[in-house]
Amino acid sequence: MTEHRRQFTVFQRLLHWLMAVCILAMLFIGVGMVSTIAPTYLALVSIHKPLGIAILVLVVIRLVVRLRDGAPSLPADLPEPMRLAAHLSHYALYILMIGMPLIGWAMLSAAAYPVVLVWGVRLPALLPQSDSLHTLLWDAHFYLAFAFFALILLHVAAALFHALVRRDGVFEAMAPVPVSAPREVVASK
């Protein structure tokens, strides 16, 4: 359906870069807020919760758009291990983008905290209070955040590797602004 397309659609690229900013902000806010008792703690928590739900909404839209519009194919000459890594890391990224907000929401529910976003909007509890579930979800939210960040670093490294070393058009497919197709792509076709 879309194999001939070299780039993601404008809407897909917009979602990608918007979410990139949101998710990076989210991860930095998360590790920052749990390491301070200063008044910024409350400010950061009050951003962390609605931003997490915003990411959850955005990733659902993104998944629908991805299933509808597909993605440009990877270069034919991409070695099989890199192709596999690309596919698996993208599954992992989607799982984390969907999972982290849900885990956070469920974790607060299991601690009987009200989940208040902005303008007094309160989400229903996903779970009843539970010491064991709260502990499980807290651990998951904490450790997966570091896994998420590590995966993003890997994602960035791979994107730059495609852009600067392989110059195979993979980076250009998601580039925030239109970039002229590198010669190698044309040559390899």
């Binding site: 390491s35 993003i152 670093l153």
Partner: protein, 352 residues
């Protein structure tokens, strides 16, 4: 070397270095934000650690105010508070209340007569789905002015150095007022006879959007009967919980909630400074405690009385303590829920 002569290999090497710098820089920024390079940063872990000597943590219990008993009842608003805040809790009506009488100690087995500070955790829920959680104490002001000073106080209390407290008091003159209170304020034989104070200030916003900075107190209807601490010790290590159970069994216990509004220039950010007398006060309703339940099976055990859980119409002020308390209370909650297996399964009734 000039650009046109750059070999592809050299360019690839440069690219790999660039990638390593980006990834390494990202990881370093993340670690910095997480405080890994800042051993001096006062984290909730460090603050909560300071409550108990290593190895003596009250596993499964709150890290402070560890000894307590649950209550349920009603908050009956008289409507007057609507002049200060648009929160539904201030419109005339009855709202369910859940709370916990407690002792300000990290030791859940501390004898009652050895603990100077008594407290009340309270949660009032309103039909609009909002909650107001409070954690109050019977001291009329906080012992120190800043969260950092509180951490230093905990370190001094836990220190083996003979003059640690003296050194601390020298560096924090505001601490003298707490010493004076602790030495002179009467002790009572009941949670029902205590006045519970918000200590911290909060900003109340009325229907027109006007802000006022407020502290509040719960004033007991029960007459306070002073009892010398020596006489309290003779009542056994656990007299408070049976006493409040029997008293509430005999009839509901009441507290009047009184809001105090700061004048411009009052020290709203420093809970160690009481506001001068003569400030506008407003009685906004009555807390009616109708039932007492042991903590083990009671509804308060699993609640974190985080004072920053506020309804719309109330928010935190420039007082830095509610943020610090919220952060530390959450850490205490995370730890005790992870240690739930250490919490006593059934009520160990230790009536004297």
């Amino acid at each position: 070397m000039t650009e046109p002569n750059r070999s592809p290999a050299r360019s690839a090497l440069g690219s790999l270095v660039l990638i390593a710098v980006v990834v390494g820089g990202g990881a370093a920024a993340f670690a910095y934000t997480a405080g890994w390079f800042s051993p001096q940063r006062l984290t909730p872990d460090r603050l909560v650690d300071a409550f108990s000597p290593p190895g003596a943590e009250p596993l499964g219990h709150r890290r402070n105010h560890a000894k307590g008993i649950c209550f349920t009842g009603t908050f009956e608003a008289n409507g007057a508070g609507s002049a200060l805040s648009s929160a539904q809790i201030f419109t005339s009506g009855q709202y369910p209340a859940l709370g916990r009488f407690n002792l300000g100690t990290p030791d859940p087995t501390a004898p009652d007569a050895t603990v100077r500070v008594r407290g009340m955790g309270l949660r009032v829920s309103t039909p609009d789905g909002q909650e107001w959680r409070m954690a109050m104490i019977d001291v009329p002001f906080f012992p120190v002015a800043t969260p950092q000073a509180f951490y230093e106080l905990l370190l001094a209390l836990g220190s083996k150095a003979p003059d640690a407290i003296k050194t601390f008091a020298g560096a924090h003159p505001e601490f003298a007022a707490f010493g004076a209170w602790a030495g002179s304020a009467p002790w009572t034989g009941s949670y029902a006879e205590e006045r519970y104070n918000s200590i911290n200030s909060f900003v109340f916003t009325d229907g027109s959007g006007a802000d006022k900075t407020v502290r509040w107190s719960l004033l007991p209807a029960a007459q306070a009967v002073p009892v010398p601490p020596g006489d309290l010790a003779k009542r056994g290590p656990n007299f408070l919980e049976p006493e409040i159970t029997d008293r509430v069994h005999g009839g509901p216990q009441r507290w009047t909630m009184a809001l105090t509004v700061a004048d411009p220039g009052d020290p709203t950010s420093d809970p160690s400074k009481a506001w001068p007398d003569g400030r506008r006060t407003l009685e906004v309703g009555t807390l009616i405690v109708q039932q007492i339940e042991a903590e083990q099976d009671g509804p308060c055990r699993d609640i974190n009385f985080d004072p920053t859980v506020l309804p719309a119409g109330i928010r935190t002020s420039d007082d830095p303590f509610p943020a610090a308390r919220s952060s530390a209370y959450a850490k205490s909650y995370d730890r005790r829920t992870a240690e739930a297996k250490y919490y006593p399964e059934t009520a160990t009734e230790a009536k004297p």
